[in-house]
């Protein structure tokens, strides 16, 4: 286990370094001048050149790159080109919002998806199965920004149960009201994935000899399904949950914008539109870190759900 973790962390460092380099280059290859954007369309060429100098954008690429790497190693990610505030401070201010949304959505998606998948599998080719397959297909087909608008129209505008502007944590009730619709929006789509994976994994496991043996021994059906079969079917489900966490963070960009929640998504869209290089770099590091950590946790979870898996 220890060796596994050390190896994974070393690999993660290499990944992180590669991402840092790639992001540094990509944001500069994309056309669009941050100085021009900051100063607006009435700025003359002299003012733009002066700002480029002040922001250090007139330095050669290697010079900027090594400066950036040295800063990153010291934990200094620079200041936003647009707001002048430290990048780390801006990210830390909104990161909890995105993490909170992602984890609540994940829990919701798993809590809905796994039982539905089990229900479909044990009722294979009967009404519950058809119903689950159809609804999960719908869930997969819906772009998150469309479902977000539909949820807002139904639950905020018509029923008036939840606010349109979801960024309030002043009281537990306000928090609950704020998180419900965005988490449902992301969680339902995730549930659709998990339902289908759980169903197919469980169907496969249900064909195994030990399930037949258990049934022959007279073990109650519920115990066979939930204790024996499901546990063995969980490995692909854990993989999907782990992989989907990355997608969730990506989908949260649109969800945060439509539900008007603070978060990394809003920050990255703003940074992209304004070509805020330093902010984009900092955010990419955060995104990479999250994906790396989730991957390590997924690997650890394999050993937890299936003791036959050896981490080495």
């Amino acid at each position: 286990m220890g060796t596994f973790l050390v190896k994974r962390l070393l690999f993660s460092l290499v990944t992180l370094f590669a991402v840092l380099t790639l992001v540094f280059l990509v944001v500069r290859i994309v056309p669009g001048d941050p100085a021009q954007i900051i100063l607006g369309d009435q700025a003359d060429a002299t003012a733009i050149a002066a700002l480029r100098t002040r922001l250090g954008l007139d330095r050669s690429l290697p010079e900027q790159y090594f400066g950036f790497l040295a800063g990153a190693l010291r934990g200094d990610w620079g200041v936003s080109l647009v707001t002048g505030r430290p990048v780390i401070q801006e990210i830390v201010a909104v990161l909890p919002w995105t993490l909170e949304l992602t984890f609540v959505s994940m829990i919701l998606g798993t809590a809905i998806g796994v039982p539905l998948g089990v229900w479909a599998a044990v009722n294979r080719n009967r009404m519950p199965d058809y119903f689950t397959r159809l609804t999960s297909l719908l869930g997969l087909s819906f772009p998150p920004f469309v479902s977000a608008i539909l949820l807002l129209i139904v639950f905020s505008l018509i029923l008036n149960w939840f606010p349109v502007i979801s960024g309030n944590r002043s009281t537990p009730w306000a928090w609950f009201q704020s998180i419900t619709l965005p988490a449902l929006n992301l969680g339902l789509i995730m549930a659709a994935y998990i339902t289908r994976v759980t169903r197919s994994a469980l169907l496969e496991v249900m064909q195994e000899d030990y399930v037949r043996t258990a049934r022959a021994k007279g073990v109650p059906w519920n115990v066979i399904v939930w204790r024996h079969a499901l546990r063995n079917a969980l490995i692909p489900v854990v993989t999907v949950v782990g992989l989907y966490l990355g997608i969730l963070i990506g989908n949260s960009v649109l969800t945060e914008i439509v539900f008007n929640r603070p978060g990394l998504g809003k920050l990255i869209i703003g940074a992209l539109n304004q070509r805020d290089y330093t902010m984009l770099q900092g955010m990419m590091v955060i995104y990479t870190l999250i994906v790396v950590v989730v991957n390590v946790l997924t690997d650890l979870a394999y050993a937890f759900v299936d003791p036959r898996v050896k981490l080495s």
């Binding site: 954007i37 009435q42 700025a43 003012a47 647009v82 002048g84 505008l157 349109v164 603070p262 539109n273």
Partner: protein, 516 residues
């Protein structure tokens, strides 16, 4: 009978139990942005910041709330002003007793001098180049300042009004907080004071009880950042916001106006859509080809396409309503046959192809597609390369587009539009470049002469002559003007009639209030 009696009793009980509804005193505004950025009026040049600055800061002078024409200028912090006959020396007498926010003390000549010097310094201002004609700014006494110019400029008052660098900041707060700190906790003298900034969510302003025009009727303003158009609409309909920036779409205006309790305010300054023709590149280096392009575009057709209530036809190469606009300029009429004949005369009987780099912004994209369809009828193929908006801004400044569609509003004096778009100093890819995409230089003499002209009538005549020359040379084809649209709750009384706002959002003044 029994039912009626019970209903009556219930109603009476309800009426006696419900308190008198308190009048709403918090205004919640929805703005199309992820964040407002730096809250420093001398740095924040974006649309999302301008309206907000306007509610916190005063200028020495201001344009009357609800107007945008410079002939509507009135005193603000300054109560009077005079200028020398040559227009190089300006003296402003300040009001006494104007108070800086957060108990920052009285605003005096020292503050005004500090503010103007700050606005003209590159390190602390994005508008420093607007003040290049300033030679000296000095305090004559506690309530008098004198500005000395290197040369006379078309509108000195425009540089000291509550717009961009003319917003007056309080010296004590600006010095104590430093440039970065001031952008997080700005202090001016306006009707509303900064109270709180929550990243990506909102800025909260509270009423300034010591405002020199009287304490505002509203108690606070929550300025929410809501980038999604659909979410802003839903929030307005759900009653979570009271006022919001709208879309430049006729269908949106009609839909919102039909929603009970809401109304749309349409106001200037309009952003003019102009098609700039690169006169250095064939086939547009030929005047007949440029004339053919102008004849092929129907201003009326585009006006009907973009929406008759939210747009209007262009009248000249300077937007209508600006000081010095030739409102009856001789723009070439829509005439397909003439366009084809001119192309044939120019040696292109089978038509031509023009390349255009264009932004993917939906509103601008639909415009250029309509123009593309009109040009096609005259045998002109417009080959559009759509690129993302920041890329568009970079590439058109690199002179990479034969035809450039630019939509912009400027300070409403002809000089600004003419200088930035049609003076040779502003030609793209030169050291002094601004936004002259056509390489036009036919009216340099008139534009420069008008800048130094002290006689108002002669100055206007020079600006009109410049426009006539630019139109005759077809450096650009002005097509259409798009107005600003904001939706508000109809119980919100702004306190004035809104015809225009230089800060691109309705001014919220001490008189603004909810009627219920």
């Amino acid at each position: 009978m029994r039912v009626t009696w019970m209903a009556g009793a219930a109603l009476a009980a309800l009426m006696s139990a419900s308190p008198v509804l308190a009048q709403k005193t918090t205004l919640v505004v929805g703005m199309q942005t992820q964040d407002a950025g730096v809250l420093d009026p001398h740095i924040n040049s974006g649309t999302p910041g301008k309206a907000l600055m306007n509610w916190m800061f005063n200028g020495l002078v201001r344009i009357k709330p609800g107007q945008f024409s410079p002939d509507q200028i009135e005193p603000d912090i300054a109560q009077s002003w005079t200028s020398s006959p040559d227009g190089k020396e300006w003296t402003f007498k300040l009001r006494q007793g104007v108070q800086c926010h957060h108990d920052g003390g009285e605003f005096t000549a020292d503050d005004a001098v500090f503010s103007l010097k700050r606005a003209s310094t590159k390190d602390s201002s994005a508008f420093s180049s607007d003040y290049s004609a300033f030679d000296k700014v000095e305090a004559v006494d506690k309530y008098t300042i004198k500005i000395t110019l290197k040369q006379a400029i078309p509108s000195l008052l425009g540089q000291v009004m509550n717009y961009h660098g003319g917003n007056m900041v309080c010296k004590k707060a600006a010095e104590a907080l430093g440039k970065d700190g001031f952008g997080k906790k700005p202090a001016g003298t306006g009707p509303f004071m900064f109270a709180e900034y929550v990243p990506q969510q909102y800025v909260k302003l509270v009423a300034n009880p010591k405002y020199f025009r009287g304490e505002p009727k509203l108690k606070e303003i929550i300025y929410r950042f809501i980038p999604s158009d659909a979410s802003r609409d839903l929030a307005l309909q759900a009653g979570e916001i009271d006022m919001m920036i709208g879309r430049q779409e006729q269908a949106w205006v009609e839909r919102t106006n039909k929603t009970p309790g809401l109304k749309v305010l349409t106001f200037g300054p309009a952003e003019m859509s102009v098609v700039h023709l690169n006169m250095m590149q064939p086939p547009l280096d030929n005047l007949k080809v440029r004339q053919a392009v102008a004849h092929a575009i129907s201003r009326e057709g585009i006006w009907q396409f973009r929406g008759q209530n939210i747009s209007r036809q262009a009248v000249s190469v300077v937007p209508s309503g600006y000081l010095g606009t030739n409102e009856t300029a001789a723009l070439l009429p829509h005439d397909i046959a003439k366009a084809k004949a001119l192309l044939a005369e120019a040696g292109h009987p089978n038509g031509i192809t023009i390349k255009a780099i264009h932004t993917t912004l939906p509103g601008m994209m639909s415009f250029i597609e309509a123009v593309q369809a009109q040009l096609k009828r005259a045998g002109i193929t417009l080959d559009i390369t759509p690129v993302e908006h920041p890329t568009f801004h970079q590439q058109i400044r690199q002179d990479l587009s034969q035809l450039t569609h630019f939509q912009a509003a400027r300070f409403p004096i002809a000089d600004v539009y003419l200088t930035q778009f049609f003076h040779s100093r502003s030609i793209v890819k030169t050291p002094t470049a601004v936004t002259n995409f056509s390489h036009c230089k036919v009216a340099d003499a008139e534009i420069d002469a008008a800048r130094n002209e002290r006689d108002a009538a002669k100055q206007i005549a020079l600006w009109k002559a410049a426009q006539d020359k630019i139109i005759a040379e077809v450096c650009a084809v002005p097509v259409n003007e798009m107005l600003m649209n904001w939706a508000i709750r109809d119980s919100l009384d702004l306190g004035y009639e809104l015809k225009g706002s230089l800060n691109l959002g309705p001014p919220v003044t001490e008189m603004t209030r909810f009627t219920k």
